[in-house]
């Protein structure tokens, strides 16, 4: 049996597998760490095997809750977890399925503990602060990330936002579309959130907090399994909207929008 500790944001995940290639997939995509005993027990225990299914033709995930067991199923993975999102079994087709299934599990874990949310957003660091750029697929998250270099890119697809501290914090995300993770363990405070619209003109207009909550609820990575869990999202989104100034950002495909932000 191969085992390792991986870390996503501030969460430790103990991973075990019988397969070398699975451990290679994990090491290639996630931050592995030493875990001294004094750090306490892991947040999550995960056992992974491969050889499941086939490449997914559709992105849809089927979710089922029976008693205290929650099952997430797609053509390329089967994830079974307890309803505290503490112990999980995962069977995957390949490394892409592994990454996606972990995103499903991790998003459920952090909402369950009211720790934070994962957003459809890129996150760029400017002068020590994180700026979120949210939107659906095709809105320009990856484009914004690419245009913002050499600034640090904490996410280009799925931003991890911690909401359990004094202020919202953005963490490096291993759930990427184009750019590689930084694996930097230290978060940065979130200074702004932008909802993206590609445009011929550059403009930035404030969004009221209540409007923001209304508009970001569909930009959270979350696969509802149980309404008692899902209901936690509103307080988390409210927490973010209350503390982070938000804007509609109309941007061209160049980096001039940074002049409106910084």
């Amino acid at each position: 049996m191969r085992t390792a500790y991986m870390q996503i944001a501030k969460h430790r995940i103990f991973v075990s597998t019988r397969e070398d290639r699975v451990m290679e997939w994990i090491a290639g995509q996630f931050r592995l760490i030493d875990s001294p005993p004094e750090e306490g027990t892991p947040d999550l225990y995960l056992r992974v095997s491969s050889g499941y299914g086939r490449p997914a033709a559709k992105p849809d995930v089927r979710v089922r809750k029976e008693g205290s067991r929650v099952t997430y199923r797609r053509e390329d993975f089967l994830l079974e977890t307890d309803d505290r999102y503490h112990r999980a079994l995962l069977s995957v087709h390949d490394d892409l399925a592994l990454n996606f299934a972990l995103m499903v599990l991790y998003s459920a874990h952090i909402v369950h503990h009211r720790w934070g949310i994962m957003m459809h957003a890129s996150c760029i660091v400017e002068e020590g602060c994180g700026h979120l750029f949210a939107g659906p697929s095709g809105a320009g998250k990856s484009t914004v990330a690419a245009l913002s270099r050499p600034r640090t890119v904490l996410s280009d697809e799925a931003a991890i936002v911690g909401l359990a501290d004094d202020r919202p914090l953005a963490y490096d995300s291993p759930f990427r579309s184009d750019s590689p993770p930084t694996f930097d363990p230290d978060p940065v405070p979130v200074a702004s959130l932008h909802l993206l619209t590609q445009s011929l003109l550059i403009d930035r207009r404030p969004i009221r907090p209540a409007d923001l909550v209304y508009r970001i609820m569909d930009k959270i990575f979350y696969w509802p399994a149980d309404p008692a869990e899902t209901v936690k999202l509103i307080a988390l989104c409210g927490n973010l909207a209350e503390r982070v100034p938000a804007y509609d950002l109309f941007f061209q495909k160049n980096d001039l929008f940074w002049e409106r932000i910084s």
């Binding site: 009221r208 907090p209 209540a210 909550v213 209304y214 609820m217 509802p224 309404p227 008692a228 869990e229 899902t230 209901v231 936690k232 999202l233 509103i234 307080a235 989104c237 409210g238 909207a241 209350e242």
Partner: protein, 87 residues
Amino acid sequence: MMWKTAVHTDAVELNGEWIVLDAEQYVITRLNETGGFLWNLIKKGATVNMLAEALVEEYGIPRETAKADAENFVARLQEIGLIVNAA
């Protein structure tokens, strides 16, 4: 008649506006300040008459108007499934 908020609903208040999530149906509803005021009273078990009385006290509107407003509000919330009969 008394009401209670539907199971698996929660609301946040931001600068006087309210956003309510019905996690069963995954539907979001916006309430203005008065709506949020009444929502909180419903959560505490207020009847329509108590809601009307609270509107009179809080906003100084005529009792008849307050009663009609409270009835309309409750009917609308019931229609969209955010509250159910507590009896």
